[in-house]
């Protein structure tokens, strides 16, 4: 019981942790969704040798454990003369990592679009950029929504690893409270509960998109 009270006393720390986790995930999405779309367009449009190189690069990035990428970014950027504080280093590594997965997700969604849609658009003389803006991307946004939702949950899970490079996100907060208050259970249970809330919220969002798709496309 006392553990719960202690956690409540430290609620500011938890809120700060949630704020950092959410701001990292949102920042990462704002950056990596456009980058992922660009990458997927490149993977479908670029000439063959460039495409193969890019595909290998994306595959390679998906083989690196996120924590190691975060370490390499955190310790590597200063070597290149760019000194970032932990939050920014975290954002850079989270974005880099997430983009690799989003490129694959968007590419798969591009491939899933019915060919006749594209051919019809071309027959109507739509320019390439109009084809993407009006025909491909709106469909992709809706068909890829569940997979992107899963990816967002993965991003939230990955962001917890950033505690190791001292980003003060939710797991960092739980660890801090448990070490300072000598109460192991409640702080971690609170963190798990907050993570659960976040992922339930995302699943609810995905379900709404799903309903929208059923209304629009049957």
């Amino acid at each position: 019981m006392s553990g719960i009270l202690v956690s409540w006393q430290y609620r500011d720390v938890f809120l700060w942790g949630v704020a950092n986790t959410l701001s990292l995930v949102l920042g990462c999405l704002v950056l990596s969704v456009p980058l992922g779309i660009l990458g997927a367009i490149m993977l479908t449009e670029a000439p063959a040798p460039l495409r193969r190189l890019f595909a290998e690069l994306v595959d390679l990035l998906r083989c690196v454990p996120f924590l190691l990428l975060a370490y390499v970014v955190y310790y590597g950027l200063p070597e290149l003369g760019l000194r970032l504080d932990p939050w920014w280093a975290g954002l850079v590594s989270l974005t880099l990592y997430n983009t690799a997965y989003l490129v694959e997700i968007f590419r798969a969604a591009f491939l899933g679009i019915a060919r006749d849609n594209i051919e019809a658009a071309q027959a109507f003389g739509l320019s390439r950029s109009l084809l993407y803006r009006r025909i491909i991307l709106p469909q992709v946004a809706i068909t890829a929504a569940p997979v992107i939702g899963n990816q967002v949950i993965t991003t939230i899970r990955d962001s917890a690893l950033l505690m190791i490079i001292t980003v003060q996100e939710l797991t960092f907060a739980a660890n801090f409270v448990s070490a300072n208050a000598f109460a192991p259970f409640a702080p971690f249970a609170a963190a798990v509960g907050l993570y659960l809330l976040m992922s339930l919220a995302i699943e609810a969002g995905v379900r709404r998109m799903e309903r929208m798709r059923r209304v629009r496309y049957g």
Binding site: C63, V64, P65, L67, L68, E79, I153, L161, I164
Partner: protein
């Protein structure tokens, strides 16, 4: 980097490999067991297992590791870092793989089971002779990719002091005041290990597709 430093990291690689191997051997059958229990739809247990899977799937792996290591002693289960790491890895992968097994079980044709029961097979026999030989093939691809994810999770156990690749690399970095080279070497080792697994997944899927006429999931 000096040779002893590289040796430290390679020793860490052995620990990572051993941790992953043990966790895989424990978690895949456990995932199957969870899926089978949920398949049976036993009222209270079904709800409990669903809650367990939902919570583990929403919890970041580091948080799970810290939870196991710091909270288990409070309920009287004092664990050293290595067993705690194995427990966390196993719980995580069991939860995720149970969903894979469950999907395969749900897709399993009902009529086959009914036919087997009509032939007077016992439940155990239906499972060992009819169900299992088919579902493991259908689940192999997704399970291998789950194993890849497990390997990618292992660096997180460094937080509770297990000296695997990542911990060894940060130790070397702390001693030499040059953290970047050991972390680059560590990244390289992981990437090679995981790339091998990913490639083998592709090969396995293609072989199965050719032999059984199954489409890779």
């Amino acid at each position: 980097m000096t040779w002893p430093a590289i040796r430290t990291i390679l020793d860490g690689a052995l620990v990572t490999a051993a941790l992953s191997a043990i966790s895989i051997l424990l978690s895949l059958p456990m995932g199957l067991l969870l899926a089978l229990l949920r398949w049976r739809r036993i009222p209270v247990i079904e709800g409990l297992l669903a809650a367990f899977v939902t919570i583990v799937r929403a919890t970041p792996f580091v948080t799970l590791v810290l939870f196991v290591y710091f909270v288990m002693p409070a309920i009287g289960l004092e664990l050293d870092p290595v067993p705690a790491a194995i427990l966390a890895l196993t719980a995580n992968t069991a939860a995720f793989s149970s969903e894979i097994w469950r999907a395969a079980l749900q897709a399993f044709p009902r009529d086959q089971r009914e036919a087997a029961i009509a032939f007077g097979m016992t439940d155990t026999k239906v499972f060992t002779r009819i169900v299992f030989p088919q579902i493991w093939r259908a689940s192999l691809g997704p399970l291998v990719s789950e194993v890849t994810i497990l390997l990618k999770c292992t660096p997180a156990v460094a937080v509770i002091g297990v000296v695997e690749i990542t911990r060894a690399a940060s130790r070397v970095g702390a001693e030499t005041y040059e953290p970047l080279p050991p972390f680059l070497l560590a990244t390289l080792i992981y990437t090679v290990l995981i790339a091998v697994l990913v490639r083998s997944q592709r090969v396995i899927e293609r072989r199965l597709a050719r032999r059984m006429g199954l489409t890779p999931l």
